[in-house]
Symmetry: C2
Subunit: 384 residues, 2 copies
């Protein structure tokens, strides 16, 4: 196990009716800005619950944080905060809203050009306090300090990670997710699955507890994911899925171990270039990546095949391929296609992605930094 | 899954040489009181590392927090803090030192009689900040808000739990535990094992992720515990054991699920009455308790037998007994006897424990509150 530091200060309020308790978490004198997306929270009752819970608190609203939250949109919220003097941000929505609000919270306290803090995270020194009400499970943004921000002008989609933007609290009421379409539930389950794999599928680091915690989440997603698609209003199943997606990216499974994240890096480019849903880019990239990184990941691929998929017979190569194949089939069960052509994208994507990535320097991805431009091309051509 | 709130704000600094980093965690102007036990930290180099790390900070020392930290001793530290004006407490030692310092931190800010806050936790409203350097894995005190305090005068040993006494940071350097005697490592592993079982072995609550996280810790302790006894200076193995003991009682595995804790309640009485090591009381009580609570715990006992011990054949009763037997054998492998008579205590303990417990009201222990005075007697007579 490598040395590590770990701190996750977010308070989770989990379960039915928990939105009613947010007033206890927000200082009485705070001037709150509620930020949300396209207005679905006004149809499913969440908006009304939030407003009721805020009681006599002074609040404003910012509507319109889109999927893959855009730098330009978010800066409008920053300007509104500065003009109107809000001092507490309440993000109500899915990962895109939460991610966007993390950027907004830090940018509102940063005197220069906002993109600076995305390019160099250390420039963000303070942030407005954030609370969240999660309505779409998957990204894990409700219990970490990470965000992903898009910029249309430059077709960029970049991570912003800082300890100062952990939510002070996050409400996870599984009932608020009952009305989500199957596509979003499928995306959320696969997104969380891949978050786990990015922290797990590397080289063995003699960290058996982290391995087993990771496998615990994978096994539970495999078990509960299809059940919640089939029966979306069964509370316990949905609750288990929501909690898995949070635990997948709360830091606990990734302490002291190598991490990959190349699938996310490549996937972000596909979203930026073609607008494919984030989780769907991961479902496309991950199987192809694993098939091309077999040497460095051999021991873990065999462990994955055995412990997660129960595959114990066959040659090493057969078991590895069977494990990856089972994973692809699971993504399919959750409604996600794993071939790039299903999204009407062909092998030309390889050069475009590499070209985009290279603008930020030489490509060195993966836990060993051995995924270079050539390997990215192979992964994408292999994913067509 | 039941509704829950979860927050664990402790920052973990894990690994080799991490003591050197504590100065970054303690405010520069703090007047620090270092608190420790019997002085072993002066033999194993930990004291010197701590003093070197504090650099130019002003600090004092309080020595002599004993195993099962005593109310009377701890109040001497409270008096010293008030007299000399310390404003940051640095606990250096094992669970007893850390537990004692949690009480001290809260009592120093409480104007009345200190025992009040142990009897009624809600009376503790603020506490001095605490940092810890853990030198003995097992209790999990380094990453939670719980302490157990003893009072010789009344032969009591009671829990004190409050969100205000979570350590601000905890250093876990596995190398500082290399010099511990096997008895203390065995105790630590079994203590952590039972912490997990208290949160896991109840009735099924449709919480598969919590179940698997719990089983992950149990499996890793079973795998790594005997290895670290056999090879106490093998870093990776010891590091895995240390991290398991922390994760066992950091709250994560117990969210939203019923919990038992009767084994701990009964065990505390045995320590208060007979001075038996805490972990050894658990090794005695737990198997007997499980054999007498089979009805309510049937489904989980079968799951435990299968997933933790690989027992898949035989009748229900046979598999349950085989699982408990394997657990007893594991405790034995770690050097802990599971019969009360091994500690020179006979069946007379049953009445004494019940008498002590009854002073605080009718006995209603376990996840269903169905362990009464008669059942406690049966458990203890069965454990002889």
């Amino acid at each position: 196990m490598d040395n590590f530091t770990f701190k996750n200060p977010t308070k989770i309020l989990f379960g039915k009716g928990q939105i009613a308790n947010i007033a206890n978490e927000i200082p009485a004198e705070a001037k709150v800005l509620i930020l949300y997306g396209g207005g679905s929270i006004k149809q499913n009752g969440v908006y009304d619950q939030v407003v009721a819970a805020l009681k006599s608190r002074s609040f404003g609203e910012f509507e319109g944080i889109e999927p893959n939250p855009q730098y330009e949109t978010l800066n409008r919220a920053v300007a509104m905060i500065r003009a109107e003097g809000y001092d507490y941000l309440l993000a109500v929505g899915g990962g895109s809203v939460l991610d966007g609000v993390k950027y907004i919270a830090a940018a509102a306290k940063y005197p220069g050009e906002g993109w600076d803090i995305v390019s160099d995270w250390t420039l963000a020194r303070e942030a407005l306090p954030i609370g969240t009400v999660l309505t779409l499970p998957g990204t894990g943004s409700e219990m970490n300090g990470a965000a992903v921000i898009s910029r249309a002008e430059t077709t960029e989609k970049l991570a912003f990670i800082s300890a100062i933007v952990y939510p002070r609290f996050s409400v996870l009421d599984p009932e608020t997710t009952f009305s989500l379409p199957p596509r979003q539930i499928g995306n959320g389950v696969v997104d969380a699955f891949v978050h786990v794999v990015e922290q797990y599928m590397t080289y063995p680091a003699d960290s058996p507890l982290q391995d087993r915690f990771a496998e615990s989440i994978l096994l539970t997603l495999i078990e509960e994911g299809p059940k919640t698609l089939a029966n979306p209003t069964h509370y316990a199943t949905r609750a288990n899925v929501v909690w898995c997606t949070t635990m997948a990216l709360a830091g606990i499974i990734g302490v002291g171990v190598p991490q990959d994240w190349a699938t996310h890096s490549i996937g972000h480019e596909l979203t930026a270039l073609y607008g494919i849903d984030h989780a769907r880019t991961l479902a496309v990239v991950l199987p192809s990546l694993l098939r091309r990184q077999t040497e460095g990941k051999r021991a873990k691929l065999l462990q994955f095949a055995e412990r997660v998929w129960g595959i114990a017979s066959g040659s090493d190569e057969e078991r590895i391929e069977a494990g990856i194949g089972k994973m692809e089939a699971f993504f399919g069960t959750m409604g996600l296609a794993t071939a790039l052509k299903s999204y009407e994208v062909g092998p030309e994507a390889a050069d475009k992605v590499v070209s985009n990535m290279t603008r930020r320097g030489a490509i060195k991805l993966g836990e060993r930094g051995d995924i270079d431009d050539q390997r990215v091309r192979e992964i994408l051509v292999g994913a067509v």
